[in-house]
Structures are given as C-alpha cells and as structure tokens.
Symmetry: C2
Subunit: 288 residues, 2 copies
C-alpha cells in the first residue's frame, strides 16, 4: 500500500511518501497554512502529487482549520485511530483531511489539530505504552494523558509562544537574543520556574542585568528554563516516577527531558516524524 | 516653600508646582523618557520653568535611568526618605534627580525608579501605616514590604507588560481587543489565575472561543483577571487579613482591589498623585 501524507502545520509542512508503513521519501518546506489561502490548496495538492507520486493523499494539521483549506471538526475525547477514521473529511475520492480532537468541557476546554496523529502513532508504533503521559513541546506544548491507547485528556500550554513574545517584544527582548543551551543557567531557570511565579521571575531577568548579577549571554537559556520549568512543574509536580514520553525533535526534546530530570521526573524521547508516519499509516489502513 | 516636581516615567510625565506641601498646579503629557534624548533635557527643564515657575526642580523616575538624562544610582534597601536625600544627584544648584532603590541580592535582585517617592510619600502622608504591604499596579507591578517606614523588600511582576504583549501580538491578540471590566469574566479569570498555571490558562482562551464556550467580548476581562489573579495570589496567598495598600489610579486600583477581595484579602486604595506630592515634598524638606 502506497500513499502520500502531509503534516501541514501553521508555518511548515512535511510531506511523506509512505509504502507499507515506511516513509520512502520525504520533503519539508515553509508552505504552512499561514503561507497559503484556501483557494490555492487544490493546485498545491496537484503539485505535491507531481513531486511525491500520483497517489491518494491524507492531510493532517492546520490544513483542516479555519485558516486552512477546509474546516474539519474536532472529535471528542476519548479519541483513538478509529475515532479519527470515522470523521475523515473527504475532499474527493482520494484526498482526505484528518479531524482534530477537542476536550468539550467548559472548565477544561482544549483543542488539538495535527498532534493527534503523532500521539496515537507513537502508541501504534509501540514507542509509547497504551497508558502514559505524553508531552509534545512547541509553540503550544501539548500534554496528553493516554489511557488504554486513547487520548482521554489533554492540556495545552503557551510555553513556546510566550518565549517568542518575550524574545520579540518588550522589556526583555534585547536580553533574550542569544542561543538557548541546557547548561547551568537553564537549570537555574527550571528550578525558579517550578515555583510558578513567572510574572516576577521574568522581571528579575532585567533587574539581574541592571545590578550586574547575570550576563546577557545566559539570559535566553535562563528564560527558556523558567518557562519550561513552570510548564513541567504544573503538569508533573516535582516528584514523579513514571517517565513522560516526549514527542519532539532533538533540541526541544532535550530541553524538556532535562527539565523533567531536574524536577525529579524522567523522560523518554520519541521521534516526531516516526510517530507521525506510524499514526497516519494506521489511519490509512483502518480506513481502507 | 515652593518648588517644581516632575514624576518622569517611561511614557508619560506629570509636573507639579508644590507650595507648602500642596500641589497648586499640575500638568501631564506624553513626553516620557522614551520620547526624549539625553541632550534635550536641559532645554526641556527650561521650558518647564517657563510653564510652572522659575523655581528649583526635583525630578524622579526614568529621567535618572540609562534611557534618561543622567544615570543616578540605586540606594540599597532598607530605604527611607533620608536615604534618598543623601544620594540626590545634583545637575546644578537648583535641579536634582532622586535615586532609585535596589534589592542587592542575586537571589532576589530587583530595582525601582520613581515608585519609591510614591511609596514613602504614602507613609509620610499618613495614608499607609509604617508597617504594611503596598502594591503599585502597572506595566511592572511593584509589591513592597514596608517596615518601620522603610522599604525593606520588594518584588516586581511583569503583569501589565505581559497583558500588553498578549494583546499586541500572537495567538490571542485578536480576542483581547475589548475593554476590561471587573465583572464575572474578570472574577473567573482571577480564580483561575490564582492556581498559577498561566501557560495553560492562556491557551484555554483560544480553545474556549473555538468550542463556543466564551464570547470574545469577555476575553480581555478574563485574561486581565488571569494575570492579576496570578500576581495577587503569588504575593498574598489566598487568605490574608491585613489589608494591602494599593497605590494607583482608579481603574487599575479597582481591578487589583477586586482581585484581592475575591482571593480572601482586602485592599485600601491610595491615590498615586497625592502620594507622589507628599513624598517629593518630604525629600525637598529634608534636603533643605
């Protein structure tokens, strides 16, 4: 069985030609949903077929959002591969969009779109147990409680976006332009962030500079540690024995793993592309 | 005794002609420190003397910062009126800048510049006891522990700035353009913010809109409540009997007072202009 899958994010997209569950070709570019408009997708899909093969295409991610090609709904939790398959949005006989997943409860409302394929794929591939806590760091970090192989509950934290806002604008921007590494400054940030008083810890970055206590070369690592530490501590507390399965690329995955380790937890890193291929293959196979 | 005092902030400034401790004239405009450059202050001071009277001038606030006229230092805590008087920076025989105050401890580094005049002025005027917790809401909210009439400890929270960043940029900006009022949505935000998991509570603003649980008309009030609730809860916990003295203009003061009340505390509002006039008068009188 051969088909094409696209993980179509907000700013980037990854395309895979998948044969018998294996990605035999892949491409990545910056034609994310914000770089497209709804009327351009049909031509874009034709181009993808020219490049990746004249095959059925399964799309996931922001392509199914209000800023994408066609809005697909959200399936409710608990959600598994079969739940997603039932709500596939067919554009034509060989082109479909995977729905998102929602927590439909006013007290804990949350949504995901695209992450569900990686999450359920990681379980399908056997990389993650059927009962586990998963974490997908990023602009909007997803924390997902998997039970019996189903997404039962999840929380989204604006960790990456807040870091971007602080880096791009306002009082701290000029101090945060450096690279982030997981050294001592990051670790100090994680421990401070775990006390979860971000509002004051952030201003202290400025005060520490003015009083000569911290070099700006360390400020970005410290700030990243603050935010990730606050995020991790809110989810796992400061003492947890079961590992968290972190689905990410290497850089961000390592930072979260280090934060979990510093706060008394542990992490297992799961490659996000592998998880996506396993998830989208499961959807394709179950639909057929 | 008559002199002119200027509370020279980052974006605005307020000028007062003070006679025997009473503001007999005042003006406010947007010529804050960011609208000035160091070489323009001398001419600006001459203009102020033309408008407010050819009198001695005492300046406080960002005029003494690295982005102001001449950098004045920070006096260490504990700091009182006498401490500030000893470190006045004289430009000429009748023009001086009040220093800032710093917490010189790497573990709790913090700085203020301008707020010290209002804080100590509120005590000097008898509006605040000599032992009290004070709060000055704003872009950078100051929380100050006053002991025996001295500023002994303080913490700055980036509450207002973070609200501005979220309003101006990123995922939530389009939802937060409405006015902030202290109704039910604000109260709900305060209670959620007090749990201090801002990173996820902020994303829920987006999810609640997508799932139809909250009207955007309420989103700005809810977000303001979240941030103020997190700030207040971090400082006073959720049960405190002694009132907090809030030095602010009416709008922001009311929001903080309501948040304190919702979280089991209480607030006494103190007018910031009155506090400034009392503080700068005390400095002037003690210097003379």
């Amino acid at each position: 069985v051969t088909f094409v899958a696209v993980d179509w994010g907000t700013t980037n997209r990854r395309m895979f030609r998948i044969k018998d569950g294996v990605a035999v070709a892949s491409e990545r570019d910056d034609k994310g949903a914000t770089a497209m408009s709804a009327d351009k997708y049909a031509a874009e899909i034709a181009t993808i077929r020219t490049r990746m093969g004249d095959l059925p295409i399964l799309l996931a991610g922001m392509v199914g959002s209000t800023i994408g090609w066609r809005e697909t709904g959200y399936v409710p939790t608990p959600a598994g591969i079969a739940t997603l398959v039932r709500q596939l949005q067919w554009i034509d006989a060989r082109t479909a969009i995977v729905p998102g997943v929602a927590m439909r409860d006013p007290a804990s409302a949350d949504v995901m779109r695209g992450e569900e394929v990686q999450l359920l794929g990681a379980v399908a591939a056997g990389s993650v147990p059927r009962d586990a806590l998963l974490c997908q760091p990023g602009t909007h970090c997803k924390w997902v409680w998997m039970e019996n192989g189903l997404i039962t509950r999840f929380i989204t934290a604006m960790t990456g976006e807040l870091f971007g806002l602080l880096r791009g604008h306002g009082l701290l921007a000029s101090q945060l332009s450096g690279a982030v590494s997981d050294g001592d400054a990051f670790a100090e940030g994680v421990r401070h962030g775990a006390t979860r008083d971000l509002l004051s810890a952030l201003f202290a970055i400025r005060a520490s500079k003015l009083l000569g206590y911290r070099n700006d070369a360390d400020a970005a690592s410290y700030a990243s540690g603050l935010l990730i530490g606050a995020d991790v501590a809110a989810r796992i507390g400061t003492a947890r024995s079961a590992p968290v399965y972190v689905i990410a690329g290497p850089v961000l995955g390592d930072l979260y793993a280090r934060a979990m380790s510093l706060l008394g937890g542990s992490a297992v890193l799961v490659d996000s592309d592998t998880a996506f291929v396993a998830g989208i293959t499961s959807i394709w196979e179950q639909h057929a």
